[in-house]
Symmetry: C2
Subunit: 282 residues, 2 copies
């Protein structure tokens, strides 16, 4: 997906939101807005937005003086999400259709996204997802049938904390899964360390780095090993907007599982903002 | 009210929204985003946002090749609003508390604002305002008591079309009213011509230009005549966010009547976005 005009002010809002999350001075945030503002003329509008986000979050990290400014918040997200895990696991096991329930919890976890909102209520989201009316596109039967047939699944992770709910879905599917994470810290996206902290290693065949540090999966920036894996995977489950923005249009057998959080992605998918989506249409 | 960091991306969103309303090419809109982006470093954050909006809308007007790019849309807004007028006038006259009803219709008209949203549903807004639960601050009794006592009232207009509902409130109050408009076209704010098209001249002692073209009332940029009027008015009714942003903090006897349309103004007032507000606190 290309960058839309609307993404430009959204990038500025991301600077403000994350700058405040990191307790930066207003003057420092203003400096970053000016630095970004001066680059608008040459903005690579043909790239998917997550590709441009790398420079943006590198700027924020440089101002924060650390390459992983959200580390403590990510750790807290995982801890918080893990408190729900035992109860949700029981709910899944006791439900009429465990895979369906686990898919829904996995998408509820997608609200943990510092790039989009500073505050969210995970408990409310988990409660309402089971009888939500905000299913934009929901090809659950098709996904479940593909899961049954697949020899193994490539699962593209998204945010830290959300990983805990991915874990629940992965163990419920009962198939060999390779779980892919970003190659380095970017916003609150899950890295290898974050995935392990969520217990993903306990339920997956392996965790791999995609080789790409963008908050998405830009295939040409991924490692050769990951690209081979992507091309040979019989089924790919892709979590979140960033992976959708960078993989939309792919001919690979991808099911996108995401909450449409902005007007650009919701418009691209033809759903409402806030809708949850499960689709192989890209 | 000063400019907040959040106003910067909002200005960019205004460029996109109004550029699209005017059917401008994406490349022209992108050019304007870049032009604005390059000015962020020296942005006058101590000024109220409407002061900076003048340069922004001048840029848009220059690209549109006319000093009043929203003229046709303004005319349409007035025409559309006038279709509601006879029915609303009857509703006001037949209601238990005509002034209260007229105040509520006057605030419902405040949704006609191209600076904030490209689309709105006036009919729905008018229907729901009478039993809305979204009153943030609502000092109606205090205002009505001041209206009863006032020898005359200075009424600060806001958007074109909204003027029709101002007309209804003004005739319901039954007091001598001077209605102030912007000195020239800016976004869809009402000018002298727009006020007359709405029939404001039929119910007011006079219509005056504030002498200021900003989408608000920046006293130091207003004419001497208007400033004298402002200082001597026993009661001022101020419509909309722009007037609030520029007059907040004034010691004058102003009642602000507005819908809080953005996080900055709603935060400043301590209400929720979307709330309607009637207050003399500034």
């Amino acid at each position: 997906m290309k960058t839309y005009l609307d993404c430009i002010p959204c990038f500025l809002n991301q600077i403000i939101r994350t700058g405040r999350l990191l307790h930066m001075d207003e003057s420092v945030i203003m400096d970053m807005l000016a630095e970004f503002g001066a680059t608008i003329r040459d903005f690579p509008m043909e790239d998917p937005p997550p590709r441009s986000a790398v420079a943006l979050y590198d700027m924020i990290a440089a101002r924060a003086g650390t390459d992983d400014p959200f580390r403590h918040m990510k750790e807290e997200s995982t801890r918080h999400a893990l408190t729900f895990y035992p109860e949700l696991r029981e709910k899944v096991a006791g439900s009429e259709n465990p895979i369906s329930t686990a898919i829904k919890f996995a998408i509820a976890g997608n609200i943990i996204d510092f790039g989009v909102a500073a505050h969210f209520d995970l408990k409310t989201e988990l409660e309402k997802v089971l009888d939500s009316s905000s299913y934009g596109i929901w090809e659950e039967d098709a996904l479940v049938s593909r899961i049954m047939d697949a020899e193994w699944i490539l699962y593209l992770g998204d945010n830290t904390g959300e990983t805990v709910f991915d874990r629940l879905l992965i163990e419920t599917m009962g198939k060999p899964v390779t779980y892919a994470v970003r190659s380095g810290p970017i916003i609150n996206d899950a890295t290898m360390e974050d995935a392990v902290a969520a217990g993903i290693d306990k339920v997956c065949t392996r965790i791999v780095s995609s080789g790409c540090r963008a908050p998405g999966t830009i295939l040409e920036l991924c490692s050769d090993e990951f690209q081979d894996m992507f091309c040979s995977a019989p089924l790919i489950i892709s979590k979140g907007q960033g992976n959708y923005e960078t993989l939309s249009g792919t001919p690979a057998p991808v099911f996108f599982l995401l909450k449409a959080k902005c007007s650009v992605v919701s418009g691209h998918l033809g759903v409402n903002i806030g809708d949850i989506v499960l689709t192989s249409r890209s």
